[in-house]
Symmetry: C3
Subunit: 133 residues, 3 copies
């Protein structure tokens, strides 16, 4: 696979983890990886402290999940995205969503490379695989 684009729309921690695992693995294999963080996804990419949010249906499994992750030495989604970036991945924030939630570039975590619009995302993801997470 030469190109993987991930639209990270969800704001729950489990979905950020999925995006991190896929981005890290694909970038390590030499793919051109782009994560486009939009809507609730942005909640995990401000400078505020990261909070764990799980989908209501599986919230009660949070403690078992955290224990399992520690036992298996699974890295956090943030660390996996940093690793993906070392392999060349780019992380963009959706400018329209940032505007809706009143977030400016300086409010965002420095892991974000830039703020771009949907049209730019679509151009960059052209001809590659895309996942909506």
């Amino acid at each position: 696979m030469s190109k993987l684009s991930i639209i990270l729309f969800s704001g729950t921690t489990d979905k950020a983890l999925a995006a991190g695992v896929l981005a890290q693995a694909a970038a390590a294999m030499g793919s051109e990886v782009t994560i486009f963080v939009t809507f609730w996804g942005l909640m995990n990419f401000t400078k505020a402290e990261k909070k764990m949010v799980l989908p209501k249906e599986f919230e009660q499994m949070g403690p078992a999940m955290m224990q399992g992750m520690a036992k298996e030495h699974v890295k956090s989604w943030y660390e996996m995205m940093l690793e993906a970036k070392e392999f060349g991945a780019k992380i963009y924030a959706c400018s329209m969503s940032a505007g809706v939630f009143g977030l400016k570039k300086e409010d965002l975590d420095p892991i974000i490379d830039d703020m771009v619009g949907a049209a730019t995302y679509l151009q960059q993801s052209e001809d590659g695989q895309a996942l909506f997470i």
Copy 2:
């Protein structure tokens, strides 16, 4: 990108918005866009009044989101889908899901072009990018 197919499975308003933004942007850029509305997604495409439904995890952010959308002059998902259609996008309802929820063609919002099955969707989306929303 020459072809974008969106499976709109979710019935929450935020996901309809994501589908609308991507469909509108891609269609405006000249892509062949198809939205295949299925399962809970159909709840937003009946002739009944559109209700705002947000994911439980972020429900409390609804008022801030609505204010932000008004301030940034973000159009509704419905308006964006109408614009996408002006650029040639097609919106289909999943016939199996419609059957499950007891919906007939005449119960659906006229923005729906036709009712089709999963096999038709798969044929139409062949060789393009596909997003499950």
Copy 3:
């Protein structure tokens, strides 16, 4: 479409149904189909009894949905996946997620063909369509 890869991340029954319908239809049409079951998705693939879990936002529609499915003779997601497998589809469990939830190969439903990692999934899905469900 020659290749369809489905990442089944969600653990709710409606999403398993979506994966089953798409996998069955695509495999019946001759596509090479792979389902990669990960994270909450695994909850439906242990040897324990399958439980119906619906997203909180639409939970109250569960009874109407079940009645509609019975009336329309919609098969269960499990039956649809079995049919997809008869057409050659493969179903893999994510080894990292299985580890997190303390699940071993022998704990998984025999519908699972094998346990694989994210890198293997990415290689197998290369050049095909991919859906994150």
